[in-house]
Symmetry: C2
């Protein structure tokens, strides 16, 4: 029993584990071994045990891990135990797809507001939320919205970024690859779907040794 910092790489794997455990839980399982969870997710069993060991001893030798207990613990570590509200800015093709994406719920996220600057879109409803004018963006703190999701075009990314920070947002998920500056205490995670695709051809035939 020691104090441990959970390595960032392990934190990156926790949502994976959580998803697998939720699936197993739905299927009625009560326990799972590191071996079986590894097979399900495509990890190594020792990696899983090591990762879990960073935040405690949860397993029972001979039996495995109690699924519910582990789910609670991972949620606690990722700070997902409470529902987190998010605001999406930019209801274009991608914004709409993200708004309608069903996968956020299992992690406890709720997209509670959507903004656009196009008058034609303002007032329109998507699911159970109404698209608002970006000028309403200041009032996020009162509405207990902590997370911003940026799905605006490149040109508008920096401005949106600034507005979200001014509105007191604590974390940002950005789908815009454009450079954003600002040394605030706001964590930004950027997803650039084209950039991920750009790595694919490199791996297509074989990993190669490159002449230097």
């Amino acid at each position: 029993m020691k104090y441990h910092k959970i390595p960032d790489e392990a934190v990156r794997r926790l949502p994976f584990y959580l998803r697998g455990l939720l699936t197993l839980s739905e299927q009625g399982h009560k326990n799972v071994s590191s071996h079986d969870l590894a097979a399900l997710l495509g990890f190594n069993h020792w990696q899983i045990r090591k990762d879990f060991s960073y935040f405690g001893s949860f397993g029972t030798p001979g039996t495995g891990y109690n699924i519910e207990k582990l789910i609670r613990q991972i949620r606690k570590i990722l700070k997902l135990s409470i529902v987190r509200k998010a605001a999406l800015v930019g209801v274009g093709n991608l914004g709409l797809a993200v708004l309608r994406y069903p996968g956020f719920r299992i992690y406890g996220f709720e997209i509670a507001a959507a903004f656009d600057n196009n008058p034609k879109k303002i007032g329109r409803r998507v699911g159970n939320i109404t698209i608002e004018d970006v000028s309403n963006l200041q009032a996020l703190q009162q509405r207990k919205i902590e997370i911003g999701i940026i799905t605006v075009p490149c040109e508008a990314a920096q401005e949106t970024f600034n507005k979200l920070i001014a509105a007191g947002i604590k974390g940002i998920l950005s789908f815009s690859p454009c450079y954003k500056t600002g040394r605030k205490k706001v964590k930004v995670i950027t997803i650039d779907i084209a950039m991920d695709l750009a790595r694919l051809p490199y791996y297509i035939t074989t990993r190669r040794i490159t002449r230097v």
Copy 2:
């Protein structure tokens, strides 16, 4: 001058560098120093030099790097020098957004076909491509399509995965978080937008030391 394997982490950064260099090139710049590129992208200058050194000595002390030369080299390493054709399967909200996403072009990708199993969607046009029935999926090799993009719901992911592999696809970009099995020589990159978001709250206040 030695043989080097380019570290995977460096490969992950190459598309970033490429984007930055393309931006600079458009702005009319001919050369850039590791310092300036670092400032633009938010990296460290020594990291950039180290990464470039894995695949050769391109810079000129006192001047920096020739942008065009570097762009060509990075494209060559990532195997992006030729146009790569991709087929998208699943024209739902997300599929439509990906189809219309303009960011693939700079990396030399062209989405050349789209498939769906919904008869209402088949035959409809999106941009300059016509949505086809998934049963046409076999003929990808003749059409020189090497890459598959999966944007189907979870339940259909495994089947789509199998079909794409049977069609001789070489690499897959999947937006479905569901587990896919198959020990083929096909590289799969998975983007799960919810999973990336799930890491955000962990970083929101402060990195913490966890009691073990």
